[in-house]
């Protein structure tokens, strides 16, 4: 493969085209001079084959789940079923307009209403909004509802959101964007919420505690019942970050654990593709107390069995996104739930947890395990021992690239030195897991005997390690035509 792929602009040759347009069947109308664009946007001029070759070449320089193992912790890189792609492209789903009369989109509304119901059942919540476009968007939506709830009771002093130090960065950022302040609490020696610290910070200013359960170390918060009681006694709400929901399907519901608000990442647990960064969807479920604050609109069934879009109630936080959420993603998640049913979803989590524990048990001698015990659907290693041998976690990650394996999430969670967060998912076969084990053991040996092989990795990729410092210091964020 070429070391350098030309930019599409560099392939451009004047007078080539890749489009076809019908001959105009209407008169030409002049654009007023004062509005006319001066000069053309510098877009490429290429043939259709040029477009195809260019993007095909780019695709070959990209690794997806379909290319190979992708144990990226907390991202749940499971298989994205092909059926879902076909379904989302059906004309009756792909080519409907958000402002069509509601009687012409009854199939879409029925699907959405059923999905709301399914997700409420899966999370143990009263109602679900499908509006949020992503997990972080869901977090912010949930926190805005919590804030509105407290304020509706005349309680304006509840401005603090308690967040463990193992949480995703989006948690504190979402709190800030919702106008709330973050209190970070340290994890205890088992990697769990420190009840002692929690007691100290809970009080009349507590708006909510945000928890990921299992947490980002892949550990289930065993004291969740007590945690929920403490938060509720203090008058706060309990927020469930669903990033790790792949561990609990059919096993335990956030609503039953005591959570008041839940978001799910449909692009993680419910197989919708990550798309190179998105689009995803982050539906939010709430218990009764928060239902009046749900964003607009909600889909409801009429008495005659038809469906309609209902504006938010008087106390609604308002609209969080245009139209009705990432509909095309919601269709895919719906299809997945209809494929798996209750039994299938439970097997998803059982296998996800089995696979993670199998990797953990098979690699625990070669890599340090900061928190002992069984894990849930993912676990965290520390590369401390390897660091002492002069090889960093970053190097291990880069060495994995030579074997066609996407590395784990690295340097997160922040509380583990040289961390590697590994999430195999349920859709990988034992052979794939065994191959990963072999590769990780081989790399551990290389670190002892030939560390430079790992330090200099990757050796087989289209580019070597890239200079990120230079990228940030002298930003080149676009191509420009040379004069």
């Amino acid at each position: 493969m070429n070391k350098n792929t030309p930019l599409i602009f560099e392939r451009s040759r004047k007078d080539r085209i890749a489009y076809s347009l019908p001959k105009s069947d209407v008169p030409t109308y002049a654009i007023p001079d004062e509005l006319k664009r001066e000069g053309k946007a510098e877009l490429p001029e290429v043939s259709e084959l040029d477009v195809i070759r260019h993007y095909t070449e780019l695709s070959r320089r990209n690794h997806g789940v379909d290319n190979g193992f992708y144990p990226l912790g907390s991202c749940t890189m499971k298989y994205n079923p092909k059926l879902h792609e076909d379904v989302a492209r059906l004309s009756g789903f792909a080519h409907i307009h958000p402002y069509q009369p509601q009687e012409t989109v009854q199939g879409a509304l029925k699907m959405l209403a059923e999905l709301q119901k399914y997700l409420a059942e899966i999370t143990g919540m009263e109602q679900v909004t499908l509006q949020p476009a992503a997990g972080a968007h869901g977090e912010w939506t949930g926190l805005m509802m919590i804030r509105a709830y407290h304020e509706s009771r005349g309680d304006f002093k509840r401005t603090k959101v308690i967040i463990p130090d193992s949480a995703h960065g989006t948690n504190p950022a979402s709190a800030t964007v919702a106008g709330l302040e973050t209190i970070t609490i340290p994890s205890d020696e088992h990697g769990l919420v420190s009840i002692e610290h929690l007691r100290q910070v809970l009080g009349e200013d507590t708006a909510a505690l945000m928890l990921t359960n299992p947490n980002t170390l892949g550990l289930f918060e065993r004291e969740i019942i007590e945690i929920a009681n403490l938060v509720h006694q203090a008058g706060g709400m309990l927020y469930y970050d669903g990033a790790n929901a792949n561990a609990i399907l059919g096993i335990s519901r956030p609503g039953d654990m005591g959570f008041d608000v839940v978001h799910l990442n449909l692009h993680k647990t419910f197989t919708t593709p990550h798309g190179g960064g998105g689009p995803g969807a982050g539906p939010v479920g709430v218990k009764n107390a928060l239902v009046p604050f749900l964003p607009s609109p909600i889909i409801e069934q009429n008495e005659d069995g038809t469906y309609h879009l209902k504006d938010g109630l008087l106390q609604s936080i308002g609209r969080v996104k245009s139209y009705y959420g990432n509909f095309g993603i919601l269709v895919r998640a719906y299809t997945y739930i209809r494929t798996m049913g209750s039994d299938g979803l439970k097997k998803v989590s059982e296998n996800a947890v089995l696979h993670a524990n199998y990797l953990l048990a098979s690699l625990a001698e070669a890599y340090d395990v900061p928190y002992k015990g069984y894990c849930m659907h993912e676990f965290v290693f520390s590369g401390k021992r390897q660091k002492e041998q002069g090889v960093r976690t970053l190097d291990i990650a880069k060495r994995l690239l030579d074997f066609g394996i996407h590395p784990p999430t690295i340097y997160f969670p922040l509380i583990v030195e040289e961390s590697m967060m590994i999430e195999p998912t349920e859709t990988e076969s034992k052979e794939t897991l065994d191959q990963f084990i072999d590769v990780m053991l081989q790399i551990a040996k290389e670190i002892e005997h030939e560390p430079e092989l790992v330090q200099d990795a990757p050796h087989t990729t289209v580019v070597k390690r890239l200079d990120e410092v230079r990228a940030a210091r002298k930003p080149v964020l676009r191509w420009r035509k040379e004069d």
């Binding site: 890749a18 792909a94 009369p101 199939g107 950022a173 593709p273 990550h274 990432n326 034992k430 070597k464």
Partner: protein
């Protein structure tokens, strides 16, 4: 029951359990207190095989009347354009759509380069210096822009044109609560911003002025030296724009905008009942380090080869946590790719041609429809591919009557403003033929 997405056999399970040193999977869940274990099945429909499920999904889809079955003049922020065949083929390449955010650049050069090209194209069209890799949609991109303005100017007052998309206005309202922004609505004259009132409202507390281009009613407003006035008061000029129009109309970058946001949906992204679409965010070099979301930058590898990485990450939530001014993580990358393929396909000449075709068809339609007695054009300003017509009857009744003729007549403005309930917002893109426009006119005559 066996599932095609779950490859682990009974024997695999046994071998894994032995390695782990437990007898059953159940033991692995021993940390979960029994009081909170789910002791029943979910109440969900029974699993369906692929064949049966496809049939079910087709039934649901067929309960909807698609834009392919009806002749549609609906727009109001979401537009039906032809999507070249190549777009679907490229974004169906699973190396793109089954990848995550490109955290490991050595094996993500394809995605990174494609986004770098997207950033270039969007910046070119808006006339701005830099762009990010995408936002959820136009409305959330606008709300983020308002937050950036407040952070940069340390002011809270946001002046908003009354011709902004009502859903964008609502999203702004929701988001404004977070940072305590004060939103002030500027009224309209006819269907455009009252510039006199707007100019008088700008003061040293103004964080930003927000306008839409073309505005919600389709009009192309001109803002003369508005940017200068805003800048004199150290505020930012934010424009929500339709990128299709900018191919042939002078873009906001040329008239002093500081941030241009919008939705790239017109570029190869299906209407899909309103999402997923593709918000974009463009700005000046000066504000480059305030941009929300992911940005791709060019650099070199150890051998000096050109390559691309996610950059300026010190802005983002995973680094700044509670100090971040945006919480965005996932974006709409695959749709940004679709938009990039669309822009590559139409290119420098083609995008101008398709935009002009939109312009011409809409102007023909406006001429044809307003030749009907009792139908008049509301727009007093030039428009791009969307305009407002007024009838003596409520627009809702007309929409209903035309629906039976398989025509989506447009967006009934009475839904957002009761004083406009005799007005219809009509969008005409390149996919409408003269014959369809004429049929629309004839049908309209029949129901007036």
């Amino acid at each position: 029951m066996k599932y095609r997405y779950l490859p682990t056999t009974d024997q695999d399970r046994q071998e894994m359990l032995e390695k782990i040193g437990v007898r059953s999977i159940e033991e692995l869940f021993s940390d979960i207190p029994s009081q909170i274990r789910l002791k029943r099945s979910y109440q969900l429909p029974e699993p369906l095989a692929e064949f049966s499920l496809m049939k079910h999904m087709k039934q649901l889809a067929n309960m909807n009347q698609s834009l392919e079955d009806y002749t549609s003049f609906l727009g109001a922020g979401v537009y039906q354009h032809h999507i070249p065949s190549v777009v679907g083929h490229i974004i169906s390449r699973s190396e793109f759509y089954t990848a995550y955010t490109p955290y490991q650049p050595e094996i993500s050069q394809g995605e990174l380069q494609a986004i770098f090209e997207f950033q270039t194209m969007i910046a070119e069209l808006t006339g701005m210096e830099v762009a990010n890799s995408s936002m959820y949609d136009g409305a959330t991109a606008l709300a983020e822009a308002a937050n950036v303005a407040a952070a940069v100017t340390k002011q809270k007052k946001i002046l908003i044109s009354g011709a902004l998309h009502p859903e964008s206005r609502e999203v702004l309202q929701t988001q404004a609560k977070g940072f305590g922004l004060q939103l002030i609505d500027i009224p309209l004259v006819d269907e455009v911003t009252n510039l006199e009132i707007l100019r008088k409202s700008i003061d040293d507390q103004t964080a930003a002025v927000i306008v839409q281009f073309p505005n919600f009613y389709g009009s192309l407003e001109t803002f003369a030296d508005l940017a200068e006035l805003i800048h004199q008061h150290k505020g930012l000029f934010i424009v929500q724009a339709n990128p299709m129009a900018l191919a042939i109309i002078e873009p906001p970058g040329a008239w002093g905008a500081d941030i241009v946001v919008g939705d790239a949906q017109p570029f190869g992204i299906p209407t899909s009942y309103g999402g997923p679409h593709c918000g974009f965010f463009t700005t000046t070099k000066k504000l480059m380090r305030k941009i929300p979301g992911r940005i791709v930058g060019q650099t070199v590898d150890e051998d000096g080869n050109r390559g691309y990485v996610l950059t300026l990450q010190a802005r983002e939530q995973h680094i700044r946590r509670d100090k971040a001014t945006s919480n965005i993580c996932s974006n709409q990358a695959l749709n940004a790719l679709a938009a990039a393929v669309y822009m590559s396909t139409f290119g420098k000449e083609g995008l101008q041609q398709v935009a002009k075709l939109n312009y011409d068809k809409a102007h023909y339609a406006a001429e044809r429809l307003t030749s009907i007695p009792g139908v008049s054009l509301v727009n007093q300003s030039p428009f791009f591919h969307e305009f407002v017509i007024h009838f003596s009857k409520p627009a809702a009744a007309i929409c209903r009557d035309l629906l039976s003729k398989k025509i989506f007549a447009g967006f009934d403005l009475g839904k957002i403003d009761l004083t406009r309930n005799h007005q219809l917002l009509v969008a005409v893109t390149e996919v409408r033929t003269k014959a369809e426009i004429d049929q629309f006119a004839v049908a309209l005559e029949g129901v007036l």
